[in-house]
């Protein structure tokens, strides 16, 4: 599975949806993922790829990690994987 598919699978599981219901354009709000669910998703993604995501739940907007939609998250993960595992 590609990084994109793996990230979508994790987000879909958190949202209790099918992966096909999660698109790059979906926002976490659209998917019904709250702040606690976001932190849990980030943990699951870190575990999946064995990477560290620079995310601070106190100020998500100013974290060096864009969570504005699923596409942005996937792009960020791909970048972190290449930086940290490359």
């Amino acid at each position: 599975m590609s990084i994109s598919d793996r990230v979508i699978a994790i987000i879909a599981e958190q949202a209790v949806l099918e992966p096909s219901d999660v698109t790059r354009e979906s926002t976490l709000e659209d998917l019904g993922i709250d702040s606690l669910g976001l932190v849990e998703s980030i943990f699951a993604i870190e575990e999946e790829f064995d990477i560290s995501i620079p995310f601070n739940a106190n100020e998500p907007a100013s974290s060096d990690f864009d969570i504005s939609n699923v596409g942005a998250i996937i792009d960020g993960i791909e970048r972190l994987v290449s930086e940290q595992k490359g």
């Binding site: 849990e40 980030i42 575990e47």
Partner: protein, 402 residues
């Protein structure tokens, strides 16, 4: 001052997954203590305990709940459900706004600490699940009960080692008696039966390797248990108005501190707590028919407790019954007073006094009627429930038949 009655009871412990199952086991003098089963148990010296068996959290709780509920919270919610359903009480409007939940636990989410220390120390992981803190915190169980049943009044958790539940129930009693709350959910829970939880207790060298035999001359220590007990304490008129069944009345309590030693119990501290509970409830010593003892099965506790009973009750000490149900369900530490309150309810409501099982040899230092090995039928009008914690913190509740 308001009258306070118990209108609901729930439990899960080594004797049963409900109040009826637990009371049946107590009537039959059944022992719930057996071989412990969990990871690394072979590295322990103490391998027995009153473990809850056949409890499947899956199915009771959904996936999201499972990530947030430590075993002590799972036990609490299971017991709270039974208590609320029996009581039939519903929390909305003013009742919800003023009612709360006060629970006792000594260790909180011990197995969550244990699992995650393993992960970071033993397995060298550098990341833990984001819910470790909300899962292990001592107030997690009280908070989840408040959320589940819409209890919006005073809620908190009391941690006074082996007296946690009794302190919690005493505070809940005080709130209802004073009129501050129409009802309170109260009791306590504990789930320390994991490698780290038992290893810590082993260190004290007060644990028995074979059985808990309170008051017996050949007793050789305590045995840990796990589980929860939760009750609905309700203002009498509130309960009557909605036609609730009343299990018994809570009439008094007292709390004392030994101010002496961090582990050795004091006769004076225990005696002052029992005498205080009698005074608070306006009870004459001669009216008490049953005492649910702290009765841990250690050399120190049992003789000190018996001496304290003799001091408080004088010649009547020989007429009353005193038993330790820890011989059956083990010592639930912070949850123990809650499960033991069930034995008081059984004595008052059903006229059946739970036995002290495993009793083999009389001890002249414990020369009271400890209801050895077999339950007994008797009319009991007043009962006390004792809890004497490490740290010298004592809490005794007085209950009355209705």
């Amino acid at each position: 001052m308001k009258r306070v009655v118990i209108t609901g009871a729930g439990t899960i412990n080594a004797l049963g997954h409900s109040v009826p199952d637990t009371l049946e086991a107590m009537r039959e003098g059944r022992c719930g203590i057996g071989d412990l089963e969990f990871r690394d148990v072979e590295r322990l010296t103490i391998k027995i305990g009153g473990q809850v068996r056949g409890f499947e959290a899956e199915g009771r709780f959904n996936r999201q709940q499972m990530t947030l509920y430590d075993r002590f919270t799972q036990f609490t919610l299971t017991a709270a459900k039974e208590a609320i359903e029996q009581s039939g009480i519903e929390f909305h409007g003013d009742t919800a706004a003023r009612s709360g939940v006060v629970l006792g636990t000594a260790g909180g989410g011990v197995s969550t600490w244990d699992d995650n220390y393993r992960a970071v120390y033993e397995e060298g992981k550098n990341r833990v699940h984001p819910f470790v803190v909300p899962k292990l915190m001592n107030n997690a169980a009280a908070s989840h009960v408040s959320m589940e049943y819409n209890l919006k009044g005073p809620s908190f958790t009391v941690s006074t080692a082996c007296a946690s539940s009794n302190h919690a129930m005493a505070l809940a009693f005080q709130m209802v008696r004073s009129g501050a709350a129409p009802a309170m959910l109260t009791g306590g829970s504990e789930s320390m039966l994991c490698f780290g939880g038992v290893k810590a207790w082993e260190g004290l060298r007060v644990m028995s390797k074979d059985a808990c035999r309170p008051f017996s001359a050949n007793r050789n220590g305590m045995v840990q248990g796990e589980g929860a007990g939760v009750f609905v304490f309700e203002e009498y008129d509130h309960a009557r108005a909605r036609g609730a069944e009343i299990l018994c009345e809570v009439v008094g309590f007292a709390m004392t501190s030994d101010a002496a030693d961090i582990v050795m119990p004091s006769k004076q501290g225990a005696a002052r707590a029992m005498a205080g509970a009698l005074a608070d409830g306006g009870i004459n010593a001669g009216q008490v028919g049953y005492i649910n003892a702290h009765g841990t099965g250690t050399a120190a506790n049992d003789k000190t407790e018996c001496a304290a009973v003799a001091d408080v009750f004088g010649p009547h000490a020989d007429n009353l019954m005193i038993s330790s149900t820890k011989s059956m369900h083990g010592h639930l530490i912070g949850g123990t007073g809650a499960v033991e309150l069930l034995a008081c309810i059984m004595a008052l409501r059903d006229g059946v006094v739970a036995p002290t099982i495993g009793y083999e040899e009389p001890d002249p230092e414990c020369a009271l009627d400890v209801v050895p090995n077999e339950a007994r039928e008797a009319r009991v009008d007043y009962a006390l429930s004792n809890a004497f914690a490490f740290g010298g913190l004592n809490a005794v509740l007085a209950l009355k038949r209705v």
